[in-house]
Each structure stands twice: as structure tokens, then as C-alpha cells.
Amino acid sequence: MIKYGKIYYKRNDFALDINDLSIRTHDKVAILGENGCGKSTFINYSCGLLDSELNVSYMDRPLKSMSMEDRAKMFALFAQNPDVAFPFTVFEIVRMGRFRMCSGKYSRKDDEKTIEKLTLFDIVKYKDKRLNELSGGEKRRVLLARAFNQETPFLFLDEPVSMLDIRHSLEIMNIIEDTMKTVVATMHDINLAMRYFKRLIFMKDGQILYDISNNEVTPIIIEEVYNVKVSPNFRDYSFII
């Protein structure tokens, strides 16, 4: 379980301001809201990446008392703009997710687990390619596989399916649905979020506006969060794999 105390983090004219929030183990939580509403800041806060007071605990262990290694064992992050500076291969990058388990001395077991993840994310055919040879969506799948390969009970995904085509988006969502991990993901696609996440948190201006289950979402709520007119349009396509 992730338990948040009072969060107040101010930066220029933006402030993340959340009171008491908890996320149960095995929950799948989607964070939604317009650009700049604090979704990523919330994720970064949860991962201890901000220079701020860390009022959050994982399974009753306060984050601020945890070492870097302990944190890496507790949660993994798929950052919004993940980036790799050198031409490493796909296999090596995904394997580096297992750094915290072996301090970089990768064994045959690490290799096997890595191949497992590559297969899961449908990138095993790019195994020996360098990351710069892949398209934007393929790169994202590689770095998602890296985060999964960290094998942590908690997983934070900052826009996991942005830039992915429909088929791969659905595949990723299925992986998220099937995993035993606790997943907190920021999402832009409301339909996808409602279908795959049981709990939806809508944010606005750094605050939580609604914290509801997926069947409680109404057009009025979406109109309020995004400042748009919502009409359930029957001519829309829906996609299933």
C-alpha cells in the first residue's frame, strides 16, 4: 500500500496540493487531467525525485528513510521522456532494469528474465538492434519493458501508451491489467483509462478533483475536468484485441 500524508509542493505559480491519499496493493490507478495539472509532478513526488519533503510511505516504510537501492526494489518508473545517451542494444537496455538486483553483474538468469520481458512486449525481434534504429513507439515499448524488468511491487507509468499505435496500446493495457503489480499511470485517453483502470483520479490545478471508480465517470465530470463538451458519440469506433 502507498500512503500519502499531506503533500504540498510549490514551484513558480504551480502547487501540488493533496491531502491524504492511499493506493491499495494490486490497485490499478489512472491519473487524468489536462496538461500541466500536476500528473507528472505527482508521479515524480511519489518516486522521491523532487527536492521536497517526502510525505509518502510504501508498505508502512517512509520513503525518506529508504536508500536508493531500497527504493529501486520497491518501485520502478517509466518516465515521460525516457532517454538513452549511448547506442546500447535493446537487450542491454531492458537488462539494465535488473541493475538493482545484481549491481550490474548480470547472470544467465538476468538474461533469461530479460528475454521473457522482450517477448511480453513484442520486441524480441529487435533484441540486437540499437535503440536509435527504432521508431518512437518501439522505443517506448523498450523502456516500458525495462521498467517491468525491475520486478518491483509498485510501478509508476507516465503516459505509457502515448505515441503507441492502437494494437500496441491495447497490448500494453492488457499487460498492465494482467500484472500483479500495483500500477499508477497517467493517461490521456479517457476511454482506454475507463476500460482498463478500476480507479480514476482526475486532477486540476495541482489538486484532486475526483477520486472515483471507473463506472462512476459521467460526461459532466469529464466536462468539468477538461473544459470540453462531451457527447457519447455512437459513430466512434472501439477496438478490441
Partner: protein, 312 residues
């Protein structure tokens, strides 16, 4: 493979002994003194200095995640030179030159790193490095002007090169290089994790601040010692890691080793050429030679193997 390259280094050093401003029959006993006390230490020394610069370049490029980073573009070399020039001009004993160079070198690097907002802005960082270079050069100009009397030794040193080396200096340089390599090689797997963006690296279990600081200090020790003993020699730290990365794997265990080997070979070759090119006995400044050899090879690599080198 690694040992094979080490063997090649020994062969290269040995064959460089055949070259010099005067033609020698190196197998004849009469020339034994010239070989052991002049050519051999100098060949080994130029290899070691090149190895230091190559190694430091590999570290700077990784830690700053910047293909243009090396001891020059980060401002570390010129600010090290500033400390060294001050120590020489003020008449300190030569023993104190490297510590002075290290102090100003790390200060210059820290300034560049802070001003450019860490490893985020690649272009900003180079810009800051250039500014530090200019400021350091002007202060050096002022020191030369102010300490008029010791001018000759400063000018002599600033030109760079390895004209006279004793075995004591050789031992110091060797020890510094070995210690730095052992430290970096031991941390290669952790350093690899620094190729990720900060958020990914930190949540992946790496204390990036500590790791960066360790790598920066080590690389700057290498630069300041190299600068203290041989003046300003550019280009080695910039091109050599790219060459190593384009031929071998990009991981740090590999890149550190081959950046060191290639850096050494490049400077050994350049110095051998510099001291034997002009038959009258005069020497070319080695920095000019490294820039020309290095530059041509860099262009070749850039055109031929762009994809392996760096991805953007």
C-alpha cells in the same frame, strides 16, 4: 582481446624508439643512454598522458551525456592550466603544480556544471565551457604579464610537449592513471546506468549525485595531472571515446579501456611524429600534430560510422 591490445601498445612504444631527430643505430651499445634516458621515458610518458586524456574524455562524455564533452569543452583543462601557471609563475616547487591545477580545474568544471544546469543542457554546457576557457586564458595572460621574471618557464610549459622526463615523474603519472582506471573500471556497471535520463537512473537504484561527483573528481585529477606535466594538448579526449565506441561496444567497461589505449596510442604516434618530422632537430608542438591527426580521423569516423558513434 584486451591483452592483445596491450601487447600492441608495447610494440608501438618499442618501434617509436627507432624514430628521433637524429638517426641512431639503437642496437649499438653507444646509444644505450639516449634510448633509456631520453627516448624510452618520453615514449612511455606520451602514451600515459594520452591514455589519461582519453580516459577523462570517456568519463566526461558519459557523465554529462554529451558527445561534445571533453577536458577542453568542459573548461576543466584550461582552468587546470590556470592553476598550474599560477603555481609556476609564483615560484612554487614543481611538486605543488598538480594540486594547484586540480583545485582550479575542479572549480572551473563545477562552475560550468552549475551554470549550465547540470547534465541537461548539452549546448549550454559547451557555451559555459567556452566562456570559462576564455576567462582562464585571459587570467593566464595577466599572470604572464605580472610575474615577468618567471615568464620563460611559463611560456616553455604552456606550449605543451614532453621534452625532458625523468623516471620519477613517469612513476607518478603511471600511478595516477592506474588508480583512476581501477576506480572507474570498478564502477563501470554503475556508470552505464548514467546513460539513462536522471529520473530513470535514480529510480533504477543509482545515487547519481554521488556517482557523478566521483567520476568528475577522478576525470579532473587525470586532466590536472596531464596538464601539469605536459601543458595543453587538445582533441585527444574528444575524439578517442567516439572512435572506441564506434569500433567496440558502448558500455563503459569497454569504452573506458579502449579510450585509454587509443588515447595513449594517438599521443604516442603524434609525439613520435612531432620529434622526428623536422630533421634539423627542432620539434613541432605536439598539440598541433594531435589536432591534425585527430581531426582527420574524426571526420573519417563521422562520415563512415555515424550511427554507431552517437544517436540523436
Amino acid at each position: 582481446m584486451r591483452y592483445l591490445w596491450l601487447l600492441f601498445v608495447i610494440i608501438a612504444i618499442a618501434s617509436s624508439l627507432f624514430f628521433g631527430s637524429v638517426k641512431l643505430d639503437i642496437l649499438s651499445g653507444d646509444n644505450f643512454d639516449i634510448i633509456t634516458n631520453l627516448r624510452l621515458p618520453r615514449a612511455v610518458f606520451s602514451f600515459l598522458i594520452g591514455a589519461m586524456l582519453g580516459l577523462s574524455g570517456s568519463v566526461y562524455q558519459l557523465v554529462l551525456r554529451n558527445p561534445l564533452a571533453d577536458s577542453f569543452t568542459t573548461g576543466a583543462a584550461s582552468s587546470s592550466a590556470l592553476g598550474a601557471v599560477f603555481a609556476i609563475a609564483a615560484g612554487f616547487s614543481p611538486v605543488y603544480v598538480p594540486p594547484f591545477a586540480f583545485l582550479t580545474g575542479i572549480l572551473g568544471l563545477w562552475l560550468v556544471y552549475k551554470l549550465s544546469g547540470g547534465a541537461k543542457g548539452a549546448v549550454t554546457m559547451i557555451l559555459c565551457g567556452v566562456i570559462v576557457n576564455i576567462v582562464a586564458s585571459s587570467i593566464m595572460g595577466f599572470i604572464k604579464f605580472y610575474f615577468d621574471e618567471s615568464l620563460s618557464s611559463v611560456v616553455f610549459w604552456l606550449m605543451g610537449g614532453f621534452s625532458y622526463i625523468d623516471y620519477y615523474e613517469l612513476a607518478i603519472v603511471f600511478l595516477v592513471l592506474t588508480a583512476a582506471f581501477m576506480y572507474l573500471n570498478g564502477r563501470a556497471a554503475v556508470l552505464d546506468m548514467l546513460v539513462f535520463d536522471d529520473s530513470t537512473a535514480r529510480t533504477g537504484g543509482v545515487n547519481i549525485r554521488k556517482e557523478r561527483a566521483g567520476a568528475f573528481v577522478t576525470a579532473t585529477i587525470l586532466v590536472s595531472v596531464a596538464v601539469s606535466y605536459s601543458g595543453l594538448i587538445g582533441f585527444v579526449g574528444l575524439i578517442v571515446p567516439h572512435i572506441a565506441r564506434s569500433i567496440f561496444r558502448p558500455d563503459m567497461k569497454t569504452n573506458l579501456y579502449y579510450s585509454m589505449i587509443f588515447g595513449g596510442l594517438l599521443l604516442l604516434g603524434a609525439d613520435t611524429f612531432a620529434r622526428s618530422a623536422i630533421s634539423s632537430g627542432a620539434e613541432l608542438p605536439v598539440g598541433i600534430v594531435t589536432a591534425v591527426i585527430g581531426g582527420i580521423f574524426f571526420f573519417y569516423i563521422l562520415v563512415k560510422r555515424r550511427a554507431e558513434m552517437w544517436h540523436d
